[in-house]
């Protein structure tokens, strides 16, 4: 850490005045003895889901970093954000913390990679970020050195981030829209700011920046397709009510579907622990986002494929998903109502059929039903046939899934362990 000597001088000077503050490192700044502030910070940290990225899975110490975040450019390892002064951020000032979170700039002037979603967190107010800082000061300090830079050349050159920031980063706090209700604005703030939903749900350019004109229309990542979460009738949440969205965010399950994969973590660690009002606000905002109005008629599925798909569906899928595709509420998703199943990018649907999946368990919905793996049983053509059948049955239509799509997905999944 550079400039440590200078820092210590500052601390020593301030320490006299602020020695009554019992923070571990005796640092100046936001008051982590302020219960209300710390509670607010805890809540915002939950909304921002710091825990998920900054904690290793399966028993890592909270916020101690070391988790590998998969990006198209390689893996980035998250730093330790506990108050440990040597290996964490205990020695940082509040301004340094705010600058890192909202501008993506480290105390040493180096740039953070946008795996840290500062492009979203920039929308957070300074007070909100300081509240998070106050909360983080109270978590257990963990001595855990993390080697942060693990991208391959040339992406390991952080200076290149200057260029990237110029292209893709617009700094600035969220500005409420007076033409919308306060509930809508709260939802917009949560989605665009701490919730950083676009980090997964907004498609990216080849350099990994947001395609801002396609905000929240769905993106590929980590072997999944994160769906469109605008109000689009076909691909998005257009057919969900606000209550359906709020239900999903709270329980991980609603009458249509269940959260699995990376979204299961988001539900478990973040949205299930937010308030009903905030979940409703998010729902209000998302439902208001216009769809694509893409009226293109999808390519007709071949009759022979539909017949084969129906035979497979009847004997392999209907015992859970029902003869009419309606499933069972909050136990087996309704394929008839699911937009994920019909998405123009079928990656997640293919993945679920091949590998199975476990849906999330929350306090309000603890069942966590699982789906078995069909990879050993169905050939690529059979997976394509049954998905094509499901996508084109029950009064809806979507482009067929091709055998090649499945072959490609199966190959890509071979190296994935999660």
């Amino acid at each position: 850490m550079c400039n440590r000597a200078a820092k210590l001088v500052v601390v020593a000077l301030l320490g006299v005045v602020l020695s009554c503050i019992a923070t571990v490192q005796g640092n100046a700044g936001v008051d982590s003895q302020n219960f209300t502030l710390v509670e607010k910070g805890h809540y915002l940290a939950t909304a921002a889901d710091c825990f998920a990225c900054h904690t290793t899975q399966n028993g890592g110490k909270p916020f101690a970093g070391g988790r590998a975040i998969e990006t198209p450019f390689g893996n980035i390892t998250t730093p330790n954000i506990t108050p440990d002064s040597e290996t964490g951020i205990g020695a940082w000032t509040d301004d340094q913390f705010v600058r890192a979170v909202r501008d993506g700039i480290r105390p040493d002037g180096g740039r953070l990679y946008p795996a840290m979603p500062f492009t979203a967190y920039t929308k957070m107010s300074r007070n909100d970020v300081l509240a998070i800082r106050a909360y983080l000061k109270t978590v257990e300090p963990v001595r855990h050195p993390v080697k942060a830079n693990t991208l391959p050349f040339p992406f390991d050159i952080r200076a290149a981030m200057r260029v990237w920031d110029a292209l893709y980063f617009t700094a600035g706090e969220f500005k409420p829209d007076p033409g919308h209700s306060s509930i809508w604005n709260r939802g917009a703030y949560l989605v665009q700011g701490p919730g950083h939903c676009g980090a997964c749900h907004t498609p990216k350019t080849f350099l990994g920046g947001d395609k801002t004109d396609e905000s929240l229309r769905g993106a590929k990542l980590q072997g999944w397709s994160a769906p469109d979460i605008t109000g689009d009738q076909n691909e998005g949440l257009g057919r969900w009510s606000e209550a359906d969205i709020a239900d999903y965010l709270k329980a991980g399950h609603n009458h249509v579907t269940a959260a699995t994969g990376p979204m299961a973590e988001v539900i478990a660690d973040s949205t299930s622990q937010m308030s009903d009002d905030d979940r409703k606000a998010i729902a209000t905002y998302l439902k208001s986002l216009a769809g694509m109005s893409n009226e293109a008629v999808p390519e007709q599925a071949k009759h022979a494929v539909m017949v084969a798909g129906q035979a497979i569906y009847r004997s392999q899928c209907s015992a859970c998903h029902g003869l009419e595709g309606k499933g069972t509420e909050k136990l087996f998703p309704s394929l008839a109502d699911s937009s994920l199943v019909r998405a123009s990018d079928p990656s997640s649907a293919i993945r679920l059929v091949l590998r199975g999946g476990r849906s999330v368990a929350t306090a309000s919905e603890p069942t966590a039903p699982g789906m078995p793996s069909f990879a050993w049983q169905l050939s690529d053509a059979q997976v394509a046939a049954v998905l094509t059948y499901v996508r084109n049955s029950w009064k809806t239509a979507a482009a067929p899934v091709s055998t090649a799509d499945v072959t490609h997905a199966r190959k890509a999944l071979r190296t994935r362990t999660e």
């Binding site: 022979a304 017949v307 084969a308 009847r314 015992a319 199975g356 368990a361 049983q377 169905l378 059979q382």
Partner: protein
């Protein structure tokens, strides 16, 4: 009571043989791994895994007497029953894996169940040899598979009733075992080598590995119309484009 190390190791070896079990401590959430589970491995066509060619011929002939072919349904041989038995005997079933095989082996009452140290694989080896030996002695040197069908049935009925004694095998037990295995292979899922193309299931009207009859539970006294499906699917799963 202290547990002795040698017995531990013996016990451990048995456990390791029967699967990849590992003691784990589970808490917090239901465990999950992608592609978890233990799906069955279908029998692949190929050379006999256990039988010699003479033995295989004999078992095919036995299969066709136990389940003779008729105009509507193939017989045991064509249905693949001998292939089924061959693969079963080559696997854990053949050497009584999982059974309690500790001595002493004593002859008990019928109610006490089988007490032989021999597994089915050895039983077939001994029994088939004794069967052919009997036939060669009684039918001018012909093995069982070369007899006329009527003569085959005469031999089998004799063994079944005990009037023909095989030497040195226990003919009655052996034949019971063969009938049991051939018929099991006939009706098992086709992935195990028998019931080729689900011919046995078609014969009786059994729909196979289906799991949802919700739309049929109320349809009383009606023939179920859908064709059978096996665990590895059916021809209906592939589209002919």
């Amino acid at each position: 009571m202290a547990l002795r190390r040698r017995e531990f190791l013996a016990g451990t070896a048995l456990l390791l043989m029967t699967g990849s079990a590992r003691a784990t401590l589970i808490s917090g959430q239901l465990p999950w791994l992608p592609d978890a589970g233990d799906p069955p491995a279908p029998v692949r066509p190929g050379p006999w895994a256990y039988f010699t060619s003479d033995e295989a011929r004999a078992v095919e002939a036995l299969a066709d007497r136990i389940i003779p072919p008729d105009p509507q349904t193939p017989g045991g041989k064509d249905a693949g029953c001998a292939i089924y038995v061959d693969r079963q005997l080559a696997g854990p079933y053949g050497h009584n894996e999982g059974h309690y095989v500790q001595p002493p082996f004593m002859h008990g009452t019928k109610q006490q169940g089988p007490q032989s140290a021999k597994g089915p694989a050895q039983m077939y080896r001994d029994g088939l040899a004794a069967l052919d030996k009997h036939c060669q002695a009684s039918y001018s040197g012909k093995r069982f598979a070369d007899l006329a069908d009527a003569d085959k049935d005469t031999v089998l009925k004799g063994i079944e009733s005990g009037s023909i004694k095989l030497d040195p095998a226990d003919g009655e037990s052996f034949f019971k075992q063969v009938v049991k295995d051939i018929q099991a292979g006939f009706f098992a899922d086709p992935l195990y080598g028998g019931n080729r193309d689900m011919v046995a299931w078609k014969m009786i009207g059994y729909p196979g590995a289906r799991y949802n009859y919700l739309d049929w539970i109320d349809r009383h006294n009606e023939r179920y119309p859908l064709p059978p499906v096996g665990i590895t699917g059916s021809a209906a799963w592939s589209s002919k484009t």
